[in-house]
Each structure stands twice: as structure tokens, then as C-alpha cells.
Symmetry: C2
Subunit: 488 residues, 2 copies
């Protein structure tokens, strides 16, 4: 008996879902894969590169870069994971390890969720949503309803949910900023919906040109696109910009007039270094109070996360979104959609609760919490400015003020000879630059093409999360050598 | 100035994504919503119903029904959340609370993930995947490759990923068992792909009729459906059946001949009460070893979860899938797809590691682990049989042997008068029966129509997770009264 010929596979690159193939997510793209392989090479042979470790500045992942978690949060999370510690029989020993308010909080959370190992309500445990509502109320000065809050596995899951619900057909258009965090374009590609790209104005701190929004909207509609939503990332990713009150007002007015849902990605709301964060919800409520009728029923979904800010707990996958002005029948469909995934991680839900209801003045954990929080904030701010200063002094590089978020997104003028070298290498010029940077310094960034940028301009996004400033010096040196090699 | 008329909303039920509207997920459907509202009513007025609490037997959520978590798992999870406990300065106190192997495991996990608050590799932390691979090797007697294992947020996320990647266009067909866990039909509805339904044979323990698979496949293809995959749930949900070796062999042969991907949902692999679990991977490797050529490149994705079995940690959202025989380019697309969601919860990943690498004989935590594991297993088995016996003795009810999983799915003969009452109420007869059961006993089940069933037959699914057997008695009493009221 001779063997049968090998069976052909069912799935190959030519016959899988083309929308999956179209989706691009550069944050974990080619550069990141190369960085990971360099990291492994260095483990085997520390002399294989002119640096001793890779710095993953491609992704806002604070604890991967040694940011310490907030002690109170982790104490409580460890208690809810091990309720035996709350047993009276362990009280004497446990009080040496845990402050009283951590024990109290853990008991309260366990009452609310029963067990972190049980599925919760698909929208998140009701009592925890209550804490989120109070946080929003305090932040904005307007009421918030726990029934309109959905806890999520990070903000990404929430963004995906909303886009899923509104993507009716291939004509569905969603206005997204360029540059943008690629979750938006990737999800729209998966849903076969159209991104309608509005370009942020780099010279004026990546501001939003509202007049241009109206023009773009008219153009898209005239081309048959059914524009349903405008997404705003504030503070900006990758831009690091922070929107002033007036811009938010203008965007809401635009959305009100054009009957668009607003998706406000506000995950960096506490990462603001210049000026003050104002939420879309607050500005919307102000407008509704001041201008009767026009702003009624404006549909706003705003997103927050435990991954960013001074919390930085990316791996715990906590987040929430608040719906304002949505049709109750649509909210029901959103609920059904999330129920198919059962529930967000319950530990992450507990963390959302603590992020929005941290220790208060006078409570045992407050001083340490405050110190840790401020130290992280100040560290981020210091590094943001150090990086910004370095970029400003680099030949052909321009960098907007570091207003917020965790990123700087400088423009780089790439010399003609380098553009040609990139072409030979089959790469975009900023991909080429970023790859050379990685190989020379171990610093992994994301090329601007991963976020979108005005044609003929080149950028990269770097976080300012890595400790120290030594790596900034390495970037400066690399850039000088790159320019010396390729200068026109 | 008079107020402007209220703005119309952008989104209403008539213009959202119709695929979201089409998706159905009865496990958290109308019955579950009613059960939750009864629970709240009872909180306010304990005399409002003839029972004092609701039993959520609609969902496999063990810890919601008082199943205790495995101590070792929770000890380690609490340590990885609070690494300060591993600090030398706390060693004296901590050793009173934690056994040595829990401390060691936590240190090892933290070395592997750095922090549970950091994003991991999108496929899951490599070292943890190594433990999963070893578990599979030991289970099946064949090698497993950590690079082919994807850690996930529960098995549901993995199932959704695979279906996303293969759903090329509206002609894409995926064979699913009927009755099925509604994740499959819901996800296919979202993807606008076609479920191709194969009916399990109730009288012979919900077995799979392989001849019928060939006929159904031919029919679907002749109708223009591009059948790409067959899904199998083993042990079965909602059926509670466990597939014998020969059936698995036949299904693999069918898939090999018809060039189909096999999705094997094996989340109940340790919940087997009659016979022994055999994995699709093992049978596939056996076939490949025995029959050269024919079974090469058979594409198998098998799913497992920390939510079921004796682990029962639904809220932690841990799971994995293993890919066998997939085209490397397709694997790359799967990787990109999951990277858009960044990573599964890192705490859940640690739990997957422990589920697949529990304490071993001779280690300090082994005895307790073994006792807890066996107690849960025996408790489930006892209750499964008790429920099965009760069903067997109920008028017009038939129940297959409780072979596995967490469910019993009895047939109920619903009298003509009850069918008419249901019709008046705008309900399917099994929905009507289940709603009456809920209101009379507080036991929430899921009607068979939520899973699919042969036309003219009626079922419901109940878990056997609730402690005690008092509630079984309540079902028996209800059924008798129901029959007395409606008997023909």
C-alpha cells in the first residue's frame, strides 16, 4: 500500500476572511516582531548588538518598563483572589501585611461580585458600576447612571463593541482622526466599514479643524458614505495633544448638527501635562444646559481604562464605557452583544472600581497612594519634557509640546538618500528609519505610517515610559549618525 | 427664543448592524433577565415569591453557586497580584499563610510575565504556553508545540477568533451540532456566515450520525454553501454527552475527506462521569500514525478553558486553543487578529498555567489540591445522577445518561393545552414551561429553543451545579402541578 498524497488544507492565505487580512495593527507589527527577536538574540549572546537590552517604546505598557503598580490596588486584588486571608482565624497575621482599608475594600468588593471566579452581570457587577458613576459625577459635576455604564476588558473591547453595533453595511462611515491609534482602522476593516479620515493640524498642537470636518462630511456623504459617528482620542494617541474646551464644544456641535454618534476615547484623561482635561460628557451637559433642544439626544460613548494613567495595569484588562443619549433599544442590543462574551474579567472590574474610587484623605492607605500616584505622574512629565527637548534639538525633527497621553509623535525630515535606501529595502521611509533606530539603539518605536500621516511627512511614535534618560541620548546619537550617512 | 426641536438620534433599532440584531444568545436571554428581576424583588420583599432565592441553573457558573475555588490556584494568584508578599522582609509572616510551593510558583510566574499588570505577548506569555504544551503531551501521548498554542480570554474568545478568520463571505458555511451552545450561531450571525446544522441523535446519547454528515455536506455544497469547518462540542453542551473514540475517528475522517477545519470545543474535558475523555488531537495523531497521507494537514483547533472542570473560575477569563496542521500564513493572520485586542488577561493566563500544571504528588499543596478536586468532581457527579433520576421519574420527561459536562438536557412532552397557553402568551412551549418553572420554583433554566432542537420536540437545559437536592424536589413538584393543570 502506498501512502495517499498529503491532504490539502482547507484554509490558506488566499481564502481566509479578506477583512482580517486587510486589518493592520502596527503597534504589534513588523518592528515589534523584530524587537522581540533581537531581545531573544541578546539573551543568548549579549554582544550581538551594540546595546544590552531592547526598550519597548512601541506600546503604552508601563509595567513592562518597570512602572510599579499602586500598592493599595494590588493589596486589594490579592485579597479578593484569596478570601481566606479575610477569615477571622488569619486576622492577627494578616493585619501585619494589609492596612485596614484594603481589608475593608476587599470585603466590600467580594460582597459585590461574590467571587472573582464567578461570571458577573455581562455589563459588569452593578455595585462596581455605581463607583464609576460617582467618579464621573465628581469629575464633571453632572449625574451619571450606573445602568448606562458598561465595564469592559480594557477600552479596546468597548470600542470594538460600539463599532460592531453601528456598522450596518459597507457604506457605514466612521470619522477618525489621522493620525490615529490603529485599533480604529483595524476594527473598521474587520467590519467592512469605511474610515472617513480627518487630518489633525500638526503645527497647532494637532488641533481639530472644525470647518474641515463639515467639508469632509459633505464630501463623504456625496460619495455615498453613510457617516454615522465621529471618533475623538483625547488626550491624543499618537499625538500627545490635549483638546481645549472650545474644540470639544465645536466637535459636539458638529456631531449634533450632522446627527453623528461621538466616540470619545478618553483613556489618557489623567495623563495631562499642560492645561486640564475636560470630558466630552461635561461639555455636552454644559451645552444641553445652555442651548435647549439642539443638543438633546446627542449620542456620546466615552471610554476609559485601567491600562493607562497612573494605574498602568494593562495586563488586568479593565475598562468601561458610558453611554449618553442612546436609544434604549440600541442599548439593549449592545447588552446582548457583550453578553455573548459573558463578562469582562472580574479582577479587572474590581480594579476599575478602585481606579474610580481610590483611597481618600484620612484613610490609612491615602498617603502612600498619593505619593505613588504623584511620583508616577511627575516621572512621566519629566521624561516627556526631556524627550521633547531632545527631539527639538535634533536636525530636521519637530515635536509638538507634550500636552498629554504617553506619547510623542515627532516629524522627521528624511533625506532623499535615505528615502532611496528605504525604497531599495521595500520599506516606507519612516519604517526604514525606525528599523535602523531599533538595530542601532534597541529602542523600538512605531513608524508614523502605522497611524496615518499627511502624505510626504514622516513620523514615529515613542512612549516616554522607559526609566532614565540614557536611552534618549542613544536616540540623539543614532539620529546624528543617520543624518551624517544620508544627508543630501 | 424658543427651544429647537429635540435632535433625532443617529442610531435606532431600525438602522444598526442587522447582524447584531440577528445574533441570539439565550443563556443570558429573557429568562435570565426575568430571573435577575425576581432576585431583586426578593431582596426587597422576601415574601413576593413562593421561594426564598433564585437558582441560576441557566449558566455554567460554579462559583456563583458556591463552588469553592481550588486553594492553591487562589493562593498563587494572590501572590502574583501582591509581589510585596514575596519580599524577604515579609518571609516570616507570609510562610504562616502560604505553602512553599505556592510561593515558588508565584515567583516562577512573575519571572515569566514580569507583572500581571503588563501586556503580555498577544498569544500569551511564552513560558506559560510551555506548561500548556506539556499538559497536552501528557494527556495525549503526542508532542505539542508552545508556538501553536494561543492563550485566550476564556474559550469563547478563541472560538470567535477562529470563526472570524475563516468567514470569507456570506457563503461560508460552518457545520454545527444541534443542539449547540449558542456562541456558535451567535458568532456566525455576527459574521454573516451560514450555520450548517447537523442534528445529534438524542435516543443514542446524543451521538453523531456520520452518514448524515456526508449527506448534509453534499446538500449544503449543492446549495452553494462553501462549507469550511465542522464544530464539535465534546463533552456536549447542552447535551451532556461524551463522544466515544470511534465517533471522533469518524468525524476526523469526514473532515479529512471533505477538507474541513475541525473546531473541537473541549472545555468540559475533565467533566466526564461515564467512560473516558479522548481528545480530537490524540485521535488525529493516532490516525496520522496509522494511515499515511490521508490525515496529513488536517486542521484542528481545540479549545479549553479555566471556567469549567473542577477549576470553575469563569470570572478570571482564562483559556487556550491549540492549532494543529494550520498553514503558517494563516497562523500569522490569527496572531495579527488577536494582537488587535492586545492580550488576554494576564491573571487568567497564570491560571491556565496552573490548571495545566497543578501541584504534583509529594509537593506541599498536593494533598489539599487532590481532596478539593475530588470533592468537586464527586459532588458534580452525585448531583448529575440525582437530577437525572428525578427527570427519569417525571411524567413525559426523558433524560439521557449524564455522561459529562455540567448539564442535563431532558426532553419534555408538553401537553396540547399548555402549547395553546404558550401560544396565547407569545412564547414557544419550552419557553413557556421554563418561565412557569422559574416563577414557581426560582430555578432558572434555558429553554431548548435557545440551543436548537428537532422540530416538535421540547427541552430545557439545566446545570447541576446548585448545592443540595432540595431544588430538584421543587422541580419535581412543579412539573406535577404543571401536568395536572394542562394534561390532555
Amino acid at each position: 500500500m502506498s501512502a495517499a498524497p498529503a491532504r490539502q488544507r482547507s484554509l490558506h492565505h488566499g481564502n481566509i476572511n479578506p477583512r482580517v487580512k486587510d486589518a493592520k495593527y502596527a503597534v504589534r507589527g513588523e518592528l515589534a516582531v523584530k524587537a522581540e527577536s533581537i531581545r531573544r538574540e541578546l539573551e543568548k549572546d549579549p554582544s550581538s548588538y551594540p546595546f544590552d537590552h531592547v526598550i519597548f517604546a512601541n506600546i503604552g505598557n508601563p509595567q513592562q518598563l518597570d512602572q510599579k503598580p499602586i500598592t493599595f490596588f494590588r493589596q486589594v486584588l490579592s485579597l479578593v483572589q484569596n478570601p481566606d486571608l479575610l477569615d477571622d482565624s488569619n486576622a492577627e497575621v494578616v493585619k501585619k501585611l494589609y492596612p485596614e482599608d484594603a481589608l475593608e475594600r476587599a470585603k466590600w468588593l467580594l460582597k459585590a461580585v461574590k467571587s472573582v471566579g464567578a461570571y458577573s452581570h455581562s455589563q459588569g457587577a452593578p455595585a462596581l458600576r455605581g463607583s464609576v458613576a460617582k467618579y464621573i459625577e465628581k469629575r464633571d459635576g453632572y449625574p451619571a447612571d450606573p445602568e448606562s455604564i458598561f465595564l469592559t476588558a480594557g477600552a479596546s473591547a468597548g470600542v470594538s463593541t460600539l463599532l460592531n453595533v453601528m456598522a450596518r453595511d459597507p457604506k457605514t462611515g466612521v470619522m477618525i482622526p489621522i493620525p490615529q491609534y490603529p485599533l480604529y482602522t483595524a476594527t473598521l476593516a474587520l467590519l467592512n466599514a469605511r474610515p472617513v479620515e480627518y487630518y489633525l493640524e500638526e503645527p497647532s498642537h494637532w488641533s481639530t479643524n472644525t470647518t474641515a470636518l463639515y467639508d469632509l462630511h459633505a464630501k463623504a456623504e456625496s460619495e455615498g458614505t453613510d457617516v454615522r459617528c465621529i471618533c475623538v482620542i483625547n488626550p491624543g494617541n499618537p499625538t500627545g495633544a490635549s483638546l481645549p474646551y472650545k474644540s470639544i464644544e465645536d466637535i459636539i456641535t458638529f456631531a449634533a448638527e450632522k446627527k453623528l454618534v461621538i466616540m470619545a476615547d478618553e483613556v489618557y484623561q489623567t495623563n495631562v501635562f499642560i492645561g486640564e482635561f475636560v470630558s466630552f460628557k461635561k461639555v455636552l451637559r454644559d451645552l444641553q444646559a445652555n442651548v435647549p433642544g439642539k443638543y438633546d439626544n446627542v449620542e456620546l460613548a466615552s471610554f476609559h481604562s485601567t491600562s493607562k494613567g497612573m494605574v498602568g495595569e494593562c495586563g488586568q484588562r479593565g475598562g468601561y464605557f458610558e453611554l449618553v443619549g442612546f436609544d434604549p433599544e440600541v442599548v439593549q442590543e449592545i447588552y446582548k452583544f457583550v453578553s455573548i462574551s459573558l463578562c469582562p474579567p472580574v479582577g479587572g472590574q474590581c480594579l476599575v472600581e478602585m481606579m474610580t474610587n481610590p483611597p481618600k484623605e484620612g484613610e490609612p492607605s491615602y498617603d502612600l497612594y498619593k505619593k505613588e500616584y504623584d511620583d508616577i505622574y511627575n516621572g512621566l512629565k519629566t521624561r516627556a519634557y526631556a524627550l521633547h527637548e531632545a527631539f527639538k534639538n535634533m536636525e530636521g525633527v519637530e515635536s509638538q509640546d507634550p500636552q498629554g497621553a504617553m506619547y510623542i509623535f515627532p516629524t522627521i525630515t528624511i533625506p532623499r538618500k535615505a528615502v532611496e535606501a528605504a525604497k531599495k529595502d521595500g520599506k516606507q521611509p519612516d519604517e526604514f528609519y525606525s528599523m535602523e533606530l531599533l538595530k542601532a539603539t534597541g529602542v523600538c518605536v512605531v513608524p508614523g505610517s502605522g497611524f496615518g500621516q499627511k502624505e510626504g511627512t514622516w513620523h514615529f511614535r515613542t512612549t516616554f515610559l522607559a526609566p532614565g534618560t540614557d536611552w534618549v541620548g542613544r536616540i540623539v546619537d543614532f539620529h546624528k549618525q543617520f543624518m551624517d550617512k544620508y544627508r543630501d
